[in-house]
Symmetry: C2
Subunit: 205 residues, 2 copies
DNA sequence: GTCTATAAATCGATAGAC
DNA sequence: GTCTATCGATTTATAGAC
């Protein structure tokens, strides 16, 4: 049993290494330009060995998305209960922007149908997505009740707007411009985003 | 000369048809999933004939981007001079959102290097991009002087934020949700965008 | 499970006849 | 310039030895 557990841990570590490589390559060149050969070379194993762990290229990408969603869920859980709902939302969004600026946010083309099918067929992915959405949804409604977010804005719009920061091209443009450091970029984007969600006819404090 | 002009017009019409097909396919499935065979089939000519008009797949995509930029420049030019700068900015952004919602906004993966090279090598593309940027830049500074846009926000940030609406995933998500019609979606996204660019410590009128 | 080698399919691009 | 036919390279995925 200890032996089995050990072997399982070895496998787990290897799969973690695979998912890390996929995560990095997805963030760097996207799904279509990422090749399975590259992933294998990056991990340092043969391509055929990769396919013993994951059934397809789509499954590799799905695993990377599950992991980043899991980490998002962890960040959500880690928010201090005493914090105001709007500040929890900002903290999670800030984390996502930082990950993206660090070049570690995997992104998938929403048009690829085989990829969509794989994601929609993954219970782990859907469960995590729903879990994160529900948590953020609670904070959004609370923020609207507090007046920190425009109560007339559909919560759906707020949720999507926050999610979309994970693949916002603006931070990348600003970083490429080279005029601002990462923290300034995050502050600027976070500011315009949440400022836009505020009520329009109310001066901010 | 009349003969030559006529033949040139026929070519022009054919190339317009090609660019239209590329535009549609880029909007629908993106650069990587678009195949040159599809473009040829869509236009109704052989693939080899396509390559008599455009040297490569990248050149096809570049032509589509030049055309959408040209149309953007046309929309910019068409703004009534009497209109307030902020309303001109909103009108152009609204147009871009409408095009995107109609599934006619071509998008390119920013990671693809061969594509980047093609774009950066296209004088028509760079000239149009600079022209549109400069026009919008004037309106942005004017809006900041008017107080319609936060004067403390770098104009660069405002410009990128407006440009990014052309590939904002939020409208597509909202449309997929099916709860709002196109006009409502555009109003919601436009509202949160420009509301976010407003000064934070000033009640809107 | 890991490897080498290769199958199978796709796709960008071109040759050559008309 | 348009066509048919095909090349050449890439890439996903697998077979089979160890």
């Amino acid at each position: 049993m200890a032996r089995g557990s050990f072997r399982e841990q070895v496998l787990k570590v290897r799969e973690d290494a695979i998912v890390s490589a996929v995560n990095r390559l997805l963030a760097e060149k996207g799904f279509d330009l990422m090749t399975v050969d590259e992933v294998a070379a990056d991990v340092g194993i043969a391509k055929a060995s990769l396919y013993k762990h994951f059934a397809s290229k789509e499954a590799l990408a799905a695993a990377a998305m599950v992991r980043v969603l899991q980490r998002t869920a962890d960040v959500v859980e880690a928010q201090p209960p005493a914090l105001a709902a709007i500040d929890k939302l900002k903290a999670v969004t800030r984390w996502a922007l930082e990950v993206q600026l660090a070049g570690e946010m995997p992104t998938l083309p929403s048009q690829n149908s085989s990829l969509r099918a794989e994601l929609l067929g993954s219970k782990a992915y859907l469960d995590l997505l729903m879990h994160v959405s529900e948590q953020l949804g609670v904070w959004i409604e609370r923020s609207q009740a507090d007046g920190a977010i425009d109560p007339e804005l559909p919560a759906e719009v707020v949720l999507y707007t926050i999610f979309a920061r994970a693949c916002d091209p603006v931070p990348g443009f600003l970083k490429a411009g080279g005029r601002y450091d990462d923290k300034t970029i995050v502050d600027l984007v976070l500011g315009t985003c949440f400022n836009g969600l505020q009520s329009r006819n109310r001066p901010a404090v």
